[in-house]
């Protein structure tokens, strides 16, 4: 488990003078499931293509099992890709698609037949060997693409939003299957998605990408519980981002907001009294208080709505910051314009780097 398979070392890449990757560093262990999470244009697909060898970096190195493959052609890298559109060869049937890499390796016919049959069984598509890709559903094509990529026994399997084109129910099912597959095969997966739930469900580690850098690389729990930056907190946990001023304190930092004070655990924050502090607080951790309460910060309700089994109350602080509060339940007496106060427990607030302090070039 601890053997390092893939290393990305200060990868930089730009297209037509526009920089896409600004120094990507990553070490992936054997059998690890790493997700690159980010919205479109953050550079995740480019990162994947550089690992596959379909794109070469402007600077930096790619190491596979310790060997520098930065300038190695894609066909000489022991890495395979499941493409976003699956890229199944339309003129070959399922079997021939899966056997493609084996034939290139000049394997014997009986061996190819056996490997293909195993791969079909692995993705639960026995009996589909003679079908053409055009005769398959989206989910089936996706499985064929996976089977075709894994028969080659790659050291790293790259998956570019493989579930992007599937409906929600099938996505959930395929998430489980992919995870099972990854554990069975013990191959390192580098998985791309813009769906934070998918990332949290499947990954050993998540790299949240933005503007060509990893804003944070860590386990799903770390990313979710202790986001490093305001962007990570809002992208992954849909957290509220509030900026105030440090009013002192030791392990618990007091933070002044217009009309009230909040608090947060200091953790490894180095700031002092008077410094600006940015906090991430998830909506379910925000407490709703009546306007005559002495605790918390004053706010005004702007909207209430019922979504996904939760009541979501949007409010505005005096400085205009929007704060969303989630509650279980369906009813509320609150209407737009009502004065409330909000508060949270110090351990539920994480001090994050504001956008202005995150380097994106």
């Amino acid at each position: 488990m601890e053997e390092t398979i893939l290393v990305l070392d200060k990868i930089k890449k730009s297209f037509d003078g526009v920089s896409v990757l600004n120094g990507i560093d990553l070490e992936a262990k054997r059998g690890e499931f790493i997700t690159l999470l980010g919205s479109s244009g953050c550079g995740k697909t480019t990162t994947l293509r550089i690992i596959a060898g379909l794109e070469s970096p402007d600077s930096g190195r790619v190491l596979l099992s310790g060997a520098d493959v930065t300038d190695t052609e894609p066909n000489h890298r022991n890495v395979n890709t499941v493409f976003q559109n699956y890229a199944l060869f339309p003129h070959m049937n399922v079997e021939t698609n899966i056997a493609y890499s084996l034939k290139l390796k000049k394997k014997k016919a009986p061996e190819i037949k056996k490997t293909v049959a195993e791969a079909l069984a692995l993705v639960q598509l026995e009996g589909y060997g003679k079908r053409m890709p055009s005769e398959l559903s989206g989910g089936q094509r996706q499985r064929v693409a996976i089977a075709r990529a894994v028969v080659n026994e790659p050291e790293v399997l790259l998956l570019d939003e493989p579930l992007g084109a599937l409906d929600l129910k099938l996505r959930r099912q395929m998430q489980l299957e992919l995870k099972r597959l990854q554990q069975t095969l013990g191959i390192t997966f580098i998985y791309i998605t813009h769906d934070q739930e998918e990332a949290l469900n499947m990954s050993d580690r998540i790299a949240v990408m933005r503007g060509g850098v990893f804003e944070q690389l860590g386990s799903p729990a770390e990313i979710y519980e202790l986001p490093r930056t305001a962007y990570v907190a809002s992208f992954v946990g849909s957290a509220n981002i509030l900026t105030g001023r440090c009013a002192g304190g030791g392990d618990t930092v007091a933070v002044d907001f217009p009309g009230g004070t909040g608090s947060a655990l200091r953790r490894d924050w180095q700031g002092r009294e008077g410094d600006s502090v940015t906090l991430a607080v998830r909506s379910e951790n925000v407490q709703l208080l009546s306007s005559d309460d002495s605790r918390g910060i004053p706010a005004a309700v702007t909207e209430t709505r019922f979504a996904g089994g939760m009541l979501r109350i949007s409010s505005k602080l005096e400085d205009g910051t929007e704060v969303v509060i989630s509650r279980y339940g369906i009813g509320t007496d609150l209407v737009s314009g009502d004065a409330i106060r909000i508060d949270w427990a110090a351990e539920n607030a994480v001090i994050v780097l504001p956008d202005s302090e995150v380097a994106h070039e």
Binding site: L54, P74, N75, T81, H91
Partner: protein, 291 residues
């Protein structure tokens, strides 16, 4: 329900009526002359002018003379050679063109089309200027000290081959271009990712998927190339004689219409047979609709 069905039926009938003039036109001006030609080929030549309505196989028997068989062979050879060279050149150029960025693609497409705006006869006379002794080609080659004396290329077989290739190349380029442009290049990346070298990926994926375009190009090049007589006329003088030239001569100079008709019928049958065989070999029906 019933009412709407009759409306649909009526609309269909109206559409059929609209298309009727086309059918009539095709029957009159395409099928009609063809049938007339076949009939003509079995009639007897009149002593002075025209034909007599006397059934005979003589015209076809005459075709078996070695001189005519040789002409057929020569025409077929030239057509195959032209098509083969156009295949290579046209594929390379069509492929290259389809891989340029869109704005350059449009420019290249324009350049391929421009020659069609002038008469093909005029363009062939251009080749005469290039090929004739001390013409453009000789001036350049001798100026560069590559050759010492005029090559005397005009009125030779190579000149005819070049003319044929030139005249038919755009058809090949355009049909290849159309299918290469539709290529999904992520398939080539997938092939490379799965271990294929650039050449192997090209052969197993790109070429296979653009084959319909190449096959269309082959048909569009081969059919005209077997009948083009004016290229051989202008660039070959009387040294290169093709079926097309003989037909023209029999029709216009010798006035042996039935023999010219018999020759045209055989030429047509030969071309159809070649295309039939070709489609059989390449399984073109299997590929249709794939790309």
């Amino acid at each position: 329900m019933n009412n709407s069905m009759t409306t649909a039926k009526r609309r269909n009938r109206a559409l059929a009526l609209c298309a009727a003039p086309l059918y009539v036109f095709t029957l009159l001006f395409v099928l009609g002359p063809l049938i007339y030609m076949v009939i003509l080929s079995f009639l007897t030549r009149a002593e002075v002018w025209g034909v007599v309505n006397e059934f005979t196989f003589k015209n076809y028997a005459d075709l078996l003379q070695p001189v005519y068989l040789k002409t057929f062979g020569e025409s077929l050879k030239l057509a195959l050679l032209t098509t083969a060279i156009d295949m290579v050149l046209g594929y390379a150029f069509g492929y290259f063109m389809a891989r340029r960025p869109p704005e350059k693609r449009r420019l290249l497409l324009l350049l391929v089309m421009v020659p069609f705006w002038t008469s093909s006869l005029m363009r062939l006379y251009g080749w005469v200027i290039i090929f004739r002794a001390n013409g453009t080609l000789d001036t350049v080659l001798m100026g560069l000290h590559i050759t010492k004396e005029p090559l005397k290329l005009l009125y030779t077989y190579p000149a005819v081959v070049v003319g044929m290739i030139y005249a038919l190349l755009p058809f090949m380029i355009l049909s290849v271009y159309t299918s290469v442009e539709k290529m999904d290049w992520s398939l080539v990346e997938a092939a490379r990712d799965l271990g294929a070298s650039p050449a192997k990926a090209f052969l197993t994926v790109t070429l296979k998927l653009t084959l319909p375009g190449l096959l269309t190009g082959v048909i569009l090049t081969f059919i005209p190339s077997i009948g083009l007589f004016f290229v051989a006329d202008i660039l070959g003088g009387n040294k290169v004689v093709l079926v097309g030239n003989v037909i023209q001569e029999q029709l216009m100079k010798v006035h042996n219409w039935p023999f010219a008709a018999a020759m045209a019928v055989v030429l047509m049958a030969m071309t159809s047979l070649m295309i039939f065989l070709y489609r059989k070999i390449t399984h073109v029906s299997e590929l249709e609709g794939m790309v």
